[in-house]
C-alpha cells in the first residue's frame, strides 16, 4: 500500500489545481492543427492526437455532383464508386485496408467527394502510396464502368422506392430551375445509362488533380513525418488545377411552387423548401443553423410545439445543410390526410413568427447551448473530425470548422430575424406533397 505521506501528496496535488473552467473548451482547436500546401497544389491538414494509436485519413475533392457536365448527372458519383475497383497495381484500396483490419468509406455530395479510411496508426504510412495511386493514378475500363453502372442503377431504384428519397429528388428539382443542385447526386436512370468510360476518364482527369484536393489526417501521427510522406507519395503527381467552376446562377424565386403527387401511402408527406444562404455568408449560415435548432432540436422545439403537441402531425423535422452555393432550408412533416391544411398553415405560421419576432436573450442562449452540444457530439471521434475539417475545406476553408462555434456564438437575435426575413419569405417557398392515392388529382397546383 502506498505510504500515507505519498497518498496525502497525491491528494494535495489533485486538489491544489484550479477547479475546471465553467465555459466549455473548443470543439476543434485550431492551435492543434497544422497544414501545408505541396508545390503541386495538394493541401495537407493534420490534427495530431497522440493519445490512442489509431488514425483516420481523409481525401476530399472540391468537386461533386454540381460539376457533372450537362446531361451527365451522376458522373461524379460513378467515378467515386469506381475508385474501389482494382487499380493498376491490381488490388483495390478497400481490400488492402480491410486486410489491415481498417475500414474505408466514400461519399459524393453536391459540392465534394470524400474518401475516409481508418487503421491502427502503425499502418497509416504504408497506405499513403496506395491512397495516392487511387486518387491520382486510377485507370478505368469499359467493363468496370458498365458493372458499376448496374450497381448505381439499383441504388437509384431503391432510393426512388422510398417516399422520402423520392420526395427529396422532387423538391430539389422544383426549387431550382437553373443551378445544378436541381439534379440528384446519383443521377437518373436515363443519364447514368448513357455514361461511358470516356466520360469517366475525362471527369477524372479534370477533377482528380492535386490543386483540387486535400489530404487530411486525425490521430496518432507526427505532422512532420506526414508532411514528408505526403511530399514523397503525393508530391510526384503533376501540378494541376481543376477547371474553373462555370455554374448557372439560380435566379431569385419570387412566388410559391407547388407539386402534389398521389401515392399509395397511408399518410400525407409534406416538404417545404426555401432558398438558403451559402458559405460565402458565414454569419447567415450560422443564423440559419440557429433557426434550424429552434425549429427542430429538442422536445420544446417550435415545430414540435406547433405540430405534434397540437395533434397536427405525427412527425416533423427541419433540415439545413451549409453548401458552397445557396442551398435549401427544409421543413418536412408527416400528417394524417385530414390534418394536411391545418398542418401546412401551422408550418407557415411558425416561419412567419421567425420573421416577425426576435428571440429573447434567454431563448438565444439556450439555442446556442443546443448548437454547441450538437457540434461537440458531432466531432467526438477521429472520423467525425476528419469529416468536419474535410467538409469545410471543400466548400471554404478547414479553419471555419474551428471558428464555427465562435461565429455562431456571435450571432444576434436581430441577425436571425434579418436572415428569416431575407430567406424565409411568405411567397418564396417550394412545397411538394405526397397525398394518399385518391381519384386523379396529379399535377401542379396554382
Amino acid at each position: 500500500m502506498l505510504p500515507r505521506v505519498l497518498a496525502s501528496a497525491v491528494l494535495l496535488a489533485c486538489l491544489a489545481s484550479p477547479s475546471p473552467a465553467a465555459t466549455p473548451g473548443p470543439v476543434l482547436d485550431l492551435a492543434r492543427i497544422q497544414d501545408q500546401t505541396l508545390p503541386n497544389g495538394l493541401r495537407v491538414i493534420v490534427k495530431s492526437e497522440p493519445y490512442w494509436r489509431a488514425v483516420v485519413l481523409g481525401v476530399v475533392l472540391r468537386s461533386g455532383a454540381k460539376d457533372d457536365p450537362e446531361g451527365k448527372s451522376g458522373l461524379a458519383h460513378l467515378v467515386e464508386h469506381l475508385l474501389f475497383e482494382p487499380s493498376q497495381a491490381g488490388k483495390s484500396l478497400s481490400v488492402e485496408v480491410e486486410n489491415l483490419g481498417g475500414f474505408v468509406n466514400a461519399s459524393t455530395t453536391a459540392d465534394f467527394t470524400q474518401l475516409t479510411l481508418a487503421v491502427a496508426s502503425q499502418f497509416a504510412p504504408d497506405l499513403l502510396p496506395r491512397l495516392a495511386a487511387t486518387v491520382f493514378g486510377a485507370k478505368f475500363t469499359a467493363e468496370q464502368v458498365e458493372a458499376e453502372k448496374t450497381i448505381i442503377l439499383r441504388e437509384i431504384e431503391d432510393r426512388e422506392a422510398t417516399p422520402l428519397g423520392r420526395l427529396d429528388n422532387l423538391v430539389w428539382a422544383l426549387a431550382f430551375t437553373r443551378h445544378p443542385y436541381r439534379f440528384p447526386i446519383t443521377g437518373t436512370p436515363e443519364t447514368v445509362s448513357r455514361l461511358t468510360v470516356e466520360d469517366v476518364r475525362q471527369f477524372y482527369e479534370q477533377h482528380y488533380v492535386p490543386g483540387n484536393t486535400a489530404l487530411l489526417a486525425v490521430g496518432d501521427l507526427d505532422p512532420t513525418s506526414l508532411f514528408a510522406l505526403s511530399r514523397q507519395h503525393f508530391g510526384s503527381y503533376a501540378k494541376k488545377d481543376r477547371p474553373p467552376e462555370n455554374l448557372l446562377a439560380e435566379p431569385e424565386q419570387t412566388e410559391p411552387r407547388t407539386q402534389v403527387v398521389p401515392l399509395p401511402v397511408g399518410n400525407t408527406l409534406i416538404r417545404y423548401a426555401w432558398h438558403a444562404p451559402g458559405i460565402a455568408d458565414r454569419a447567415a449560415v450560422c443564423a440559419m443553423d440557429l433557426i434550424y435548432t429552434a425549429l427542430d432540436r429538442g422536445e420544446t422545439s417550435l415545430l414540435n410545439r406547433a405540430l405534434e403537441q397540437k395533434g397536427l402531425a405525427l412527425n416533423s423535422q427541419a433540415g439545413f445543410l451549409t453548401q458552397k452555393h445557396p442551398g435549401l432550408f427544409l421543413i418536412t412533416a408527416v400528417v394524417r390526410p385530414d390534418k394536411e391544411l391545418p398542418a401546412r398553415e401551422a408550418i407557415l405560421s411558425v416561419v412567419r413568427d421567425l420573421r416577425e419576432r426576435q428571440f429573447s436573450d434567454e431563448e438565444l442562449a439556450y439555442l446556442k447551448k443546443l448548437l454547441y452540444a450538437d457540434y461537440a457530439f458531432a466531432n467526438q471521434s477521429y472520423a467525425d473530425q476528419v469529416g468536419s475539417l474535410a467538409f469545410y475545406e471543400a466548400i471554404d476553408t478547414y479553419k471555419f470548422a474551428c471558428q464555427y462555434l465562435a461565429t455562431a456564438g456571435a450571432v444576434t437575435a436581430e441577425q436571425i430575424q434579418e436572415v428569416a426575413r431575407k430567406y424565409l419569405g411568405e411567397d418564396r417557398f417550394t412545397v411538394v406533397i405526397f397525398r394518399p392515392q385518391t381519384p386523379p388529382d396529379e399535377g401542379r397546383e396554382a
Partner: protein, 467 residues
C-alpha cells in the same frame, strides 16, 4: 490527512514500493518510459476509501469526457428467483438519471446532449452492468454527482420501478421476435452448461411483476455498491484532475463491502448442441433456421489470448476463411467477398468480447433443409484454420487485423473509456494491455496450433428450427 484513496495496480507492481514511487513521479512529470500499447501512457487507477476504483485517462482530442461506470454484478448473481432483476434495476436507473439530468439549469449542456439524442447509454451485459456517458468537461462533476446519487445512495422508487417495467415490457416483445437472440441464448447454454448464470438477460413481464420491492432493494444493496464498481474517465484534462472530480462527486457514496463471486466461474463443458423451436422463424410460407456454432476461447489474461485473437481474424473479413470457403458461400448463396454494402448478410461472426468466458461464434440464418450442409461447411472453414496457421501470408494478415481491432475500438472518446474499463475488469494487470500488441506480433504457428487444439476440440451449437 484522511486516507481518501490509494493507487492500485493489480498484479506485480503492488509488491514493489519503489516501483510505485517511480510511477507516481513519472505521472507527475507527465512522461512515461513504460511500454506503450494502444495508449501512450499508463493511466493511474485509484481506489477511493469507499472502495470505488477510478481510472483517469488524459485525452485532449475532443472537448468531451467519456465516462464508463461498470458494476461487477453478473447474471449468475441473480439466481433463479431474481432472473432479470439487474436489467430492471438498470432501467430504473435510466429513468432516474434522465429525470435528474433533464430540466436542471446546472446540467444544461448535458441536458442539451440528451435532447440531441446522445450522452447516456445503460447496458446489461452477461457479466456486468455499464453506464456509458459523454459530457462536456465542464459538466463532468454534476454528471458524476447525479450518477453517485442515483446508483449508490437513493432507494429504488416505485415510480422508477414502474417505468422500468413498462420499458422492459416493450423490449421483451422485441426480444421475442428476434430469433437470433434466442439462438444466442441456446449457444450460451451449450457453451457454459446449465448454470443459473446462463439465463437470458431479459425477463418476461410476468416474472418482473413477481419481484417484491424488498427483494430488489436487498439485491441492489448487496451488489450496487461503490466497492463493486469501476469508473473510467477519459477526457481533456490531466488524469489527476479527472480523478479529483470523481473524488468530489463519489466519495460520499456509502462504504459497503464488495460481494464475492466475481468474475463468474463456468466449468469447461463438453461440446454440445442445444435445440429449440420458434414460431418467429415461420412467416407465412417462408421458413428459416437460426444456427450458431462456436468455441470457448482463453480469457484475456491467459498467455494464449493473443493467439486466439489472431485465429479469430483468420476467419473474418472478405479474405478470411469463412467467406473464402466455397461450400459455405454456396450453401448460403453468398457472392465472393460477401454481400455488397447495404445488403444484410445471413452470416455474422461474434467475439471475442470482454467477458469472463470469451468465445468465438458464427451465426447463420438459413433454411431448415440446409442446416446440415451449412454446419458441415462451417466445420470445413474451422478445419481450414490448421492449414492457414502455417501460411505466413494469412497469419500476417490476421495479426494486422488483430492489431487494428485493438486500435479502432477507441476511435471515439466513449469507446476509449469503455475499452480501458473492459481491460481493467477482465485482464488483471495493466501489463496485459501494454504488452498485447507485442504479443500479437510474436504469435507463432505453434501457438496457433496449440490454441486450435485447446479450444476447437469442443464445439458448441445453438439451433432454432421453425415451430
Amino acid at each position: 490527512m484522511p486516507d481518501t484513496y490509494r493507487l492500485v495496480f493489480a498484479g506485480g507492481a503492488r509488491n514493489h514500493p519503489t516501483c510505485w514511487l517511480a510511477v507516481f513521479l513519472l505521472l507527475l512529470l507527465g512522461t512515461s518510459t513504460l511500454a506503450q500499447p494502444v495508449t501512450r501512457v499508463r493511466p493511474p487507477l485509484v481506489q477511493l476509501s469507499n472502495g470505488l476504483k477510478v481510472l483517469g485517462y488524459e485525452d485532449r482530442s475532443t472537448s468531451l469526457v467519456g465516462v464508463f461506470l461498470a458494476l461487477k454484478v453478473s447474471a449468475q448473481a441473480e439466481g433463479e428467483e431474481l432472473r432479470g432483476a439487474r436489467d430492471m434495476i438498470q432501467e430504473a436507473f435510466r429513468f432516474r438519471l434522465e429525470q435528474e439530468l433533464r430540466g436542471d439549469p446546472r446540467y444544461l449542456d448535458l441536458t442539451a446532449a440528451l435532447l440531441v439524442g446522445r450522452g447516456l447509454s445503460l447496458g446489461t451485459e452477461w457479466d456486468y452492468l455499464s453506464v456509458l456517458s459523454l459530457c462536456p468537461r465542464s459538466e463532468l462533476r454534476p454528471l458524476l454527482q447525479v450518477m453517485g446519487k442515483v446508483i449508490f445512495r437513493e432507494p429504488l422508487t416505485p415510480e422508477a420501478l414502474a417505468a422500468a417495467r413498462r420499458a422492459l415490457g416493450r423490449q421483451w416483445l422485441t426480444y421475442q421476435s428476434n430469433p437470433a437472440e434466442a439462438t444466442f441464448y441456446l449457444f450460451r447454454r451449450a457453451l457454459l452448461g446449465p448454470d443459473v448464470g446462463v439465463q437470458p438477460v431479459f425477463a418476461d413481464p410476468q416474472r418482473l411483476d413477481s419481484f417484491s420491492p424488498a427483494a430488489l432493494e436487498a439485491f441492489r444493496a448487496q451488489y450496487f455498491v461503490a466497492a463493486n464498481a469501476l469508473l473510467v474517465l477519459a477526457g481533456p484534462d490531466q488524469p489527476e484532475q479527472l480523478v479529483a472530480e470523481a473524488v468530489e462527486a463519489m466519495v460520499s457514496a456509502p462504504r459497503r463491502p464488495a460481494p464475492t463471486g466475481w468474475p463468474p466461474h463456468f466449468s469447461l463443458q463438453p461440446g454440445s448442441v442445444q435445440i429449440a423451436t420458434s414460431p418467429f422463424l415461420r412467416r407465412g410460407e417462408a421458413v428459416a433456421a437460426s444456427l450458431m456454432v462456436g468455441f470457448r476461447l482463453p480469457p484475456a489474461g491467459d498467455e494464449d489470448y493473443p493467439a486466439a485473437l489472431v485465429l479469430f481474424e483468420m476467419l473474418t473479413g472478405k479474405q478470411g476463411l469463412l467467406l473464402s470457403n466455397e461450400k459455405l458461400r454456396e450453401a448460403l448463396a453468398l457472392p465472393a467477398g460477401g454481400c455488397p454494402p447495404g445488403v444484410p448478410s445471413p452470416l455474422q461472426v461474434l467475439g471475442p468480447l470482454a467477458s469472463a468466458v470469451p468465445y468465438l461464434a458464427v451465426h447463420v440464418q438459413t433454411t431448415p433443409e440446409q442446416v446440415g450442409v451449412v454446419h458441415a461447411a462451417l466445420r470445413g472453414a474451422f478445419g481450414d484454420l490448421a492449414r492457414a496457421a502455417g501460411d505466413p501470408g494469412a497469419v500476417q494478415r490476421a495479426k494486422r487485423r488483430a492489431l487494428s481491432a485493438q486500435a479502432l475500438a477507441g476511435l471515439d472518446q466513449s469507446g476509449r473509456a469503455r475499452r480501458l474499463g473492459e481491460w481493467a475488469l477482465f485482464a488483471p494487470g495493466w501489463q496485459n494491455l501494454e504488452s498485447l500488441p507485442r504479443r500479437i506480433q510474436a504469435v507463432k504457428t505453434e501457438d496457433l496450433a496449440r490454441v486450435i487444439k485447446r479450444c476447437l476440440a469442443r464445439e458448441y451449437v445453438g439451433l432454432q428450427m421453425p415451430e
